[in-house]
Amino acid sequence: MVEPDHHRFDTRALHAGQRPDPVTGSRAVPIHQTTSYVFDSVDHAAGLFNLEVSGHLYSRISNPTVAVLEERIASLEGGVGAVCTSSGQAALHLAMATILNAGDHVVASRNIYGGSHNMLNLTMPRFGITTTFVDPRDPRAFDAAIRPETRLVFAETLGNPGIEVLDVTAVAEVAHSHGLPLAVDSTFATPYLMRPIDHGADIVIHSVTKFLGGHGVAIGGVVVDGGRFDWASSGKFPTLSEPYDGYHGITFTEEFGTTALSMRARAEGLRDFGGCMSPANAFYLLQGVETLPVRMARHVDNTHRVIEMLDAHDAVSWISHPAHPSHPDHELAARLYPKGAGAILSFGVHGGREAGRRFIEAVELASHLANVGDAKTLVIHPGSTTHQQMSAEDLAAAGIGEELIRLSVGLEDPDDICADLSRALRASQKA
C-alpha cells in the first residue's frame, strides 16, 4: 500500500513551519524581535495592506517567529492554518469575534474552564451574544438547545475539572446537521493524544500555556482552522461570506475558501482587537512543542501511576479520570484516546473542605497554583480558585464539590509524586 508522503507527528513537532535560516544558518527558530518590516516598494506595501500579497508588515498581525509556531500547531492538528494569540482566553474570544455578531447564540458545554464560562455567561451577553449551557455527555442536549439564531457549538474535548470526554464525532454531527461549526478547546488533550479535526471538529482552540508549551514560562493561545466547514452555503456567517469594507469589499470565502476563517481572524481580529502573541513568547512555547510527544507520553504514564496510588489510598473518596474504570467515559476515552486521556485528574478527599485544605497545605513536591500542564506537578482547589465566580448551583451542575482537588501530573519521578501525594493525604485525615 502506498503511504502518504508526509513527515510523521514527532518529526513535525520539531520541524514543521521552519527551515534553517537562509542568511545565518541558525538551526533554532530565531526570535524576530521587531515590530515592523521594511517594504520592497510602495506597491509591495500597498499589496500587503490590501491582502494582495502575503508577508509580514507589522507584528501585531504577523511575525516570523510566531508564524513558525502557528504553522507547526496547524500541522500537528491537521488544520489549514492557525492564529496565535496572547492567551488561551484571547484565542476563544478571537474565534467567537471572527464569526459571531450581536444577536447570535452559542450552545456550550457546562463543564468548561471557569474563565471560559465567565466569558460566555457574563461577558459576551454585554455584546449581545448569549449562551445556553448543556451536559457535554449528551449530544441530544446540544441538539435540543440549538435555536434559529445559534451560530456556534462549543465544548472542551476533556472537560474541566471532571475530565468529561466529549464525543467529538457525535457532537460535530449534531452541529453540522444544523449548519453550525463545532469549536473545541483541546488544551488538556493536545494533538498528541487526540486530533479533533480528524473527528469532525471545525475549530480547535488551545491555551498554549499548558501542555503545548509545557514549562509554565509563557502565556499564549491559538485558534486552529480546520478548513472543512462550509461557511458560505448556509448564509449564517456574513463576516466570512459577505463583502467586508475593511479590505475594499473582500469576501473571505470567495477569495480564500478553506482558509477564510483564519484569514479573517488575522486580518480583522488581530488588526482590530490586537490580542497577538509576542515573538519571545512564541520562542519559549516552541521549545515546548518540540518535545511534546515525549513529554505527553511521560505525563500519561505518570498519571496512570498516580491513579493506581490514589485508588488504593483510604483517604480518597473518589477519582475522576477517564483511565479509571469508574469514570463514566472510560470506554469512550479508550476509543478516542488510545494513548491516554491526559494528565489532569480530580479526586475527592474524605473530610470535605477542611480535609482538602489540609491536603493542599501538606504537599511539598506538588505546587499549589492556578495552572495546569506544567512539567511540574500542580494541585489546586477549584471551588476556591479557578471556579470561584461560579454560583453554588453552577458548581454543582459542573460536578465541582467542595472536596474536589484538581491535580496536573508532572514529569517528576512517579515514585516521588506518589510519595508526596500519599503523605499529604495522610496529613489531610489528621483533624
Binding site: M1, V2, P4, D5, H6, H7, H15, A16, G17, Q18, R19, A46, G47, N50, L51, E52, V53, S54, G55, H56, S62, N63, P64, V66, A67, V68, E70, E71, R72, A74, S75, G78, G79, V80, G81, A82, V83, C84, G226, G227, R228, D230, A232, P243, Y247, H248, G249, I250, T251, E254, E255, F256, G257, T258, T259, S262, R266
Partner: protein, 268 residues
C-alpha cells in the same frame, strides 16, 4: 461573483474588483483555471493582486467544482470548449492561466479556439500526466487517502517543512482540505481525464499565441523532464523554471509566479 456560462451558474473570485468597471474596459481579461479536485482558491496569491494591477482577473470554479453548478465535465476537449463559452460570457478574448489539469485545458483551448485565447500561461504539467494507480483507486473510492497522497506529492520538500508564504498557514494542510472538500467523485473524474489526455504535444505545436511555461524543478507529480517534449513542441514559449517549487508554483513561489505573469501580460 456568479456568471452564466452555457446556461449554468459559475462561481469565480475576482479579487473583489468588478470586471465591468469602465476604467478597466480595455484591461487584459485573465481567466485562471485550477487543477484536478481543486478550486479557484489555488490562485489566491495571484487573483487579488492581478485584479489590483490593471487586469480583469477571473479565477473560476470549473463546472462541478467549488461553488459552480455541476456536473463536472468529462474530457479536456469538453473543458476547452467550455473555456470558449466562458470567453463569450465574459465578453472578450481570454488570457488563460492554467495549473496542471487547468494547464491541459488551456493548451487545448489555445490550440482550438483561435483568437478567443489571447495568450496562455501553463504551470505544473508534463507532456502527459499519468496518474499513480493508488491515487486513482483512492479517488475512485472517495477515500480521504487520495487527498493525503496528492497533498504529499504536490509540494516540494521546503513546503513540506514550511514556511508558508502566508503567515500561519499550512500548505499541505490547505491543499488536503481543498481536495477533501471537493464534491464526491470530482477528483476521480478529473484524474481520469488527465490520465486519458494525450493531445498536449500536438496542441503545443498548434499554438501560436504568446505562451509562458512555468515549471518547478522539484515537481514529483509531473517531473520536470516529462515536460520537455511539450516545451519543445511549443517552441516560441517563454520558459520559467523555479528551483524550489514542486507541482504548485503559484502556491509555493507566489512572488516568482506573479513576476512571470507580469512579464507575460505586460511585455516591455
Amino acid at each position: 461573483m456568479r456568471i452564466q456560462v452555457a446556461g449554468q451558474s459559475v462561481h469565480a473570485a475576482t479579487g473583489a474588483m468588478a470586471i465591468d468597471r469602465p476604467e478597466v474596459a480595455d484591461a487584459p481579461l485573465v481567466a485562471l483555471i485550477h487543477g484536478a479536485g481543486m478550486d479557484r482558491t489555488v490562485w489566491s496569491h495571484q487573483t487579488r493582486w492581478l485584479a489590483h494591477h490593471d487586469t480583469r482577473a477571473v479565477a473560476v470554479d470549473l463546472p462541478g467544482h467549488g461553488y459552480s453548478d455541476g456536473p463536472a465535465l468529462g474530457s479536456i476537449a469538453g473543458l476547452a470548449a467550455w473555456v470558449g463559452d466562458l470567453s463569450e460570457a465574459l465578453g472578450g478574448p481570454l488570457h488563460v492561466i492554467g495549473h496542471s489539469m487547468g494547464a491541459f485545458i488551456g493548451l487545448e483551448a489555445a490550440a482550438t479556439l483561435g483568437d478567443r485565447i489571447a495568450s496562455l500561461v501553463v504551470m505544473g504539467l508534463g507532456a502527459a500526466m499519468p496518474v499513480h494507480p493508488a491515487l486513482q483507486t483512492a479517488a475512485d473510492d472517495d477515500n480521504p487517502l487520495a487527498a493525503d497522497l496528492m497533498a504529499g506529492w504536490m509540494h516540494g520538500p521546503d513546503q513540506k517543512f514550511g514556511t508558508n508564504p502566508t503567515p500561519g498557514m499550512s500548505m499541505t494542510g490547505t491543499s488536503r482540505a481543498v481536495i477533501e472538500t471537493s464534491p464526491d467523485g470530482v477528483l476521480a473524474g478529473d484524474l481520469a481525464l488527465c490520465g486519458a489526455y494525450d493531445g498536449a504535444v500536438d496542441a503545443g505545436a498548434a499554438i501560436t499565441c504568446p505562451t509562458t511555461v512555468v515549471l518547478g524543478t522539484l515537481d514529483r507529480m509531473t517531473p520536470r523532464r516529462s515536460a520537455q517534449p511539450l516545451v519543445d513542441a511549443l517552441g516560441h514559449a517563454t520558459l520559467v523554471e523555479l528551483a524550489t517549487s514542486g507541482h504548485a508554483p503559484m502556491m509555493e513561489d507566489p512572488d516568482a509566479v506573479r513576476s512571470a505573469l507580469l512579464a507575460h501580460l505586460f511585455p516591455s
